[in-house]
């Protein structure tokens, strides 16, 4: 006999104004209760994904277009599967195989998509701000799936969700983000999101790949835009000391070609996460990476598949979090 406690306290949606975003562009304008609502909804979605029939009818009759101007495997697949699991019709548009090659502008492309009656446009673009431009000119909801060096809000939400899955809460956790912070949209969105949920963030990398300070309006408490700024250090041991989570970023080859790194070898020698260095963090600390991993560069092969790695969990969380976002922005009247 199995008695299952319902455990249904009044959830965040009813306690507050619910999800108030028309678009998901970055986490800087997300309120804490909205982040909590995304997580709570993702819990329900994880439940759908665990069934034999991984499909619910919530978005039947809605359509989602993924418009990618940059290469992607996991983000695009994740959005596609998320839409399909909620019964939406999903179309994938790859810039390199569309009229974009004939010189069609972003605005023309999204206007065309709008005219076809699409409900959600998921955009990845190499220019920072491109999804903001799209959101200004069309009515369908726009989700930013990565814009230039600027933001990748769904990645940050899935990273935070993965951490919450293990620790229950993010409040007070120490998170070290290591690597090419300067050019990382993942790091930028995570810094916003993690600060809002009360985690303490340390950014670490070589001086040429770190911002000298975190931009924002500083108040008398030293807070920027009302949030504590991340700590910045060049010293990996200092960054990892006592960390609950170590998040490594992908090192892009063009950084070295651009003269920001003397050599790959030097980066590896000072910043690669190895089993020994992971030992500087708390015992059982989580190792994360947004993927794809340059094995042997930012992470050694043995930590990628080590017991502390939750890289595969991140991918699984991504599906649930993106289902939650699609449901929250497209599940009702527009």
């Amino acid at each position: 006999m199995t008695a299952i406690r319902p455990g249904s306290p009044p959830g965040p949606a009813l306690a507050t104004g619910g999800f108030r975003h028309h678009d998901v562009l970055d986490l800087d304008d997300f309120a804490l209760d909205e982040i909590e609502l995304v997580f709570h909804t993702a819990d329900g979605m994880k439940d759908v994904l665990g069934r034999d029939i991984k499909k619910a009818p919530a978005l039947r009759g809605k359509s989602v277009v993924t418009l990618f101007y940059e290469a992607s495997t996991r983000t695009r697949m994740s959005f596609e599967l998320a839409g399909k699991a909620l019964s939406a019709d999903v179309l994938n548009l790859t810039a390199s195989a569309s009229s974009v090659t004939k010189g069609e502008s972003l605005v023309d492309t999204v206007k065309t998509i709008e005219a076809m009656g699409v409900d959600v446009i998921v955009i990845r673009h190499s220019s920072s701000g491109a999804p903001y431009l799209a959101a200004r000119v069309v009515e369908p909801a726009v989700i930013n799936a990565g814009d230039g060096w600027h933001a990748h809000p769904t990645q940050a939400l899935l990273d935070m969700y993965t951490i919450r899955e293990r620790f229950g809460s993010l409040d007070g956790l120490k998170i070290a983000i290591v690597g090419d912070i300067l050019h990382s949209r993942v790091a930028r969105s995570n810094v916003w999101g993690l600060a809002k949920v009360g985690a303490a963030v340390t950014l670490c990398g070589p001086p040429t790949l770190l911002p000298s300070q975190w931009g924002g309006v500083t108040d008398t408490n030293g807070h920027q835009d009302g949030l504590p700024p991340p700590r910045i250090t060049f010293d990996l041991e200092d960054a990892l000391d006592g960390a609950d989570v170590v998040m490594a970023l992908r090192l892009q080859q063009e950084r070295q070609e651009g003269g920001l790194l003397p050599s790959l070898g030097e980066y590896i020698a000072r910043y690669q996460i190895t089993p020994e260095r992971l030992g500087w963090a708390k015992p059982g600390a989580l190792l994360m990476h947004p993927g794809p991993v340059n094995e042997g560069v930012e992470l050694s092969s043995d930590v990628v598949r080590g017991v502390q790695s939750v890289i595969d969990r991140q991918v699984a969380s991504g599906l649930a979090v993106r289902m939650a976002l699609l449901y929250l922005i497209a599940g009702g009247p527009q």
Binding site: R5, P6, S8, H40, D43, K46, R51, A56, A58, L328
Partner: protein, 184 residues
């Protein structure tokens, strides 16, 4: 709003006890039965019904209890300004071939039950699905009826039926809220 109490704690207990007996009588026991509550108050009622069924069938009833979330199956998603909150469904194993006793607090338009039937279909093919509700307030919009009813309560559309349960609201009662204009 004028508030009138329809059932108190004892009334609710008696109604649920009667339903437990009716369920056992109709099904000749509770073998392979799953009592499935619709979130959120239906789950509390399902827990109680499961316990009552086990109590009546002292010779080791193996009835199991689960929780069903139907928010992703609603047919009014595109009409509601606020998305219904998505909760988790908890099932005690596969539902195929079993008798499912679906439990909710109030039966009104029937749309929640319609959504619940769709949700259950995604978890397998039960041998039969029966419906138990604490209050049937009428005004069905779909051809759905309950097999077990705690209290039939004729209402007007302007009225509201509120079920309060100790688990979530601190006390057991069912009240009918009538707007002053209608009450006069």
């Amino acid at each position: 709003m004028r508030e009138k109490r329809i059932l108190n704690g004892d009334d609710i207990r008696r109604a649920l006890t009667r339903i437990a007996h009716e369920v056992l009588e109709r099904n000749r026991g509770s073998d392979g039965m799953v009592v499935l509550g619709i979130r959120s108050r239906g789950v509390d009622l399902a827990e109680r019904l499961g316990a009552l069924i086990r109590h009546v069938e002292s010779a080791g009833s193996r009835v199991e209890v689960g929780a069903l979330d139907i928010s992703l199956y609603r047919d009014d998603l595109s009409r509601r300004p606020l998305r219904p909150e998505v909760g988790a469904t908890r099932l005690p194993g596969n539902l195929s071939g079993r008798t499912v006793l679906l439990v909710d607090d109030v039966l009104f338009t029937g749309r929640t039950v319609r959504a619940a039937l769709d949700a259950i279909t995604d978890f397998g093919r039960p041998r039969s699905i029966q419906l138990a509700v604490l209050v049937d307030r009428g005004h069905r919009e779909l051809p759905i009826r309950a097999d077990y009813v705690g209290k039939n309560l004729p209402t007007s559309l302007a009225e509201e039926v509120v079920v309060r349960l100790t688990e979530t609201d601190g006390a057991d009662e069912v009240v009918l809220l009538t707007p002053e204009k209608v009450a006069q």
